[in-house]
């Protein structure tokens, strides 16, 4: 399954998503293997955005433009593993997007 599943904030067919906060990243095992079909959740405290990693273990989501990265809680998990930890890498200087999330499942 090569398709990637996006977790866009707004139904794309009803609204023009011209601008947004891009979140992307990967899920890997502790051995470094990229994990497909893992779930990544970004929780703003108001709503969750959910993506599933593609066959290469990557994901990409577009959140509303006004999303504040420091207010977003993230998590990831995959059946067959028992724990996970992640790390955010924000853009340098004044840019607010894109934000990279690296997740490792064990």
């Amino acid at each position: 399954m090569a398709a990637q599943f996006y977790g866009n904030a707004i139904p794309a067919e009803l609204f023009d998503l011209q601008a947004g906060s891009v979140w992307f990243g990967s899920v890997r095992s502790s051995e470094g293997d990229f994990i497909s079909d893992a779930t990544v959740v970004l929780d703003t405290g108001f709503i969750e955005y959910v993506a599933v990693t593609d066959i290469g273990g990557r994901f990409r989501m577009v959140l509303p433009e006004n999303t504040v990265p420091s207010e977003v809680a993230f998590s990831c998990a995959k059946a067959g593993f028992s724990s996970a930890q992640g790390r955010l890498r924000r853009p340098s200087k004044s840019a607010s997007t894109s934000i990279e999330l690296s997740c490792i499942v064990r």
Partner: protein, 432 residues
């Protein structure tokens, strides 16, 4: 392997109801119907509709649930009693007790093929339709009376019509007549060879007062174990988190179907189904996996506003009323009016399904827990507007739009067909 649809009474062998392969192939792919669809509203005959709409009193009285409060929101049987609609309970019971009776109704993909075609081509677009990309496996079905009504009212606009007239004038669609029924069922995947997690709604747990209260946030998670020889771990991965398991259920606690290969192929055309199976099972669907029924909406026509019932799987903590049919794990609520009977705080009537509306956020009038299904569907019209603004109280379509009879599906059908044609003109989507 034949498709199976049925339930197994406790302690007995599985009651399997054979469903012809042809029907299995039609097992839906619905994502889009989601908050839209399967219902209609009432306003009398079409000629009177504009008058009725003009007279409709907007009585929007948003009330917010206190932040983090312990609440029980679905009013349950008082609504039924107040409207003298005990038949709705019987309707829901029949749908649960004899799922084969509705499995033969045409599904939305049959009536609105272009909508489904576009969805298949652009599956990822449908992904964001529900709770910001939090999926469910949905199917909407129309009984023959409802189908005939939609055909006669011109709601089923074909692609060829749009080719001739890109912006066809849609005449107002009358509300569904008595005897017409539309349902929307929500399924949850269960692995055939391992326990699978399932979140369970608790009406008494803290909720976000304005944000999403979709299943990702529900505090209780159980495991469904179809194979009793396999142990259930204390924690399981569910949708991006590792969750403690509070209870183990059997398939017999649900109405369920077992997927055969055509069923897997069918569901795999649905982006939401693909996504949900990965969020729950950590993989795609395979033949032999199960789908358990976790929620179901019913809209029963009356020529007016109709009667709306909704049920969800749960326990005593899950609110609503217990549906008196086996397995006794389904709770329900119903409504026949967007306002009455008033809630105990004097606000308009509330009737929502935690699976289907719980994930909706506040758009200015309360979130999905402050919703009445009729209110949302009263706004159904072409051109399609944002149906996500759930609320309570009487609503009406925007000015200069054409009411689609409380049904969002016809409105979205036209919207998508128009969009498809625009995309075709740009060469984005090849025409077939």
């Amino acid at each position: 392997m034949n498709g199976l649809l049925g339930r197994r009474p406790r302690g007995l062998f599985c009651k399997r109801i054979a469903v012809p392969v042809a029907q299995q192939l039609r097992f839906p792919l619905l994502v889009l119907t989601l908050m839209t669809p399967a219902h209609s509203m009432g306003a009398g005959d079409p000629k009177k509709m504009p008058v009725v709409l003009a007279d409709a009193q907007i009585q929007l009285q948003p009330t917010h649930v206190g932040g983090g409060a312990s609440v029980s929101l679905n009013s349950g049987s008082p609504t039924l009693a107040a409207h003298g609609a005990p038949l709705l309970e019987a309707e829901l019971a029949v749908l649960i007790d004899r799922p084969e009776s509705w499995s033969v109704w045409p599904e939305r993909a049959d009536l609105f093929p272009a909508l489904s075609e576009l969805q298949r081509r652009n599956g990822e677009m449908a992904d964001g339709m529900f709770s910001a990309g939090v999926p469910l496996m949905l199917e909407t079905r129309f009984n023959p009376t409802a189908e005939a009504h939609l055909r006669e009212s011109g709601a089923l606009v074909s692609r060829s019509v749009l080719d001739r007239e890109p912006t066809p004038k849609l005449t107002p669609v009358p509300p569904l007549p008595a005897g017409a029924k539309v349902i929307m069922a929500a399924w949850w995947p269960v692995a055939h060879d391992a326990p699978s997690p399932l979140p369970v709604w608790s009406a008494h747990s803290p909720t976000r007062p304005s944000g999403s209260n979709g299943y990702l946030n529900w505090q209780q998670v159980i495991a469904i174990n179809p194979n009793l020889t396999v142990g259930v771990p204390r924690e399981m991965a569910l949708a991006g988190r590792f969750r403690a398991i509070s209870e183990v259920a059997e398939l017999a606690d649900f109405h369920y179907q077992q997927l055969d290969q055509p069923g897997v192929v069918h569901w795999n055309r649905d982006a939401s189904a693909q996504k949900l199976s990965r969020m729950v099972l950590g993989r795609g669907l395979v033949a032999g996996d199960y789908l358990v029924l976790v929620a179901l909406h019913l809209y029963a026509g009356s020529g007016g506003l109709g009667e709306w019932g909704t049920l969800w799987w749960g326990d005593a903590r899950s609110g609503g009323e217990l549906l008196p049919v086996q397995p006794k794990r389904y709770r329900y609520d119903s409504t026949a009016d967007p306002v009455l009977p008033l809630e105990s705080d004097g606000s308009p009537n509330r009737c929502f399904n935690p699976w289907l509306e719980g994930g909706l956020t506040d758009a200015g009038a309360g979130n999905g827990l402050d919703a009445n299904c009729i209110s949302c569907h009263q706004r159904a019209a072409h051109p399609a507007t944002n149906f996500l603004n759930v609320t309570r109280g009487h609503q009406r379509p925007l000015a200069e739009t054409t009411a689609t009879g409380l049904l969002w599906t016809p409105a979205l059908q036209l919207h998508r067909l128009n969009q498809q044609m625009q995309a075709n003109s740009l060469g984005v989507i090849p025409d077939r």
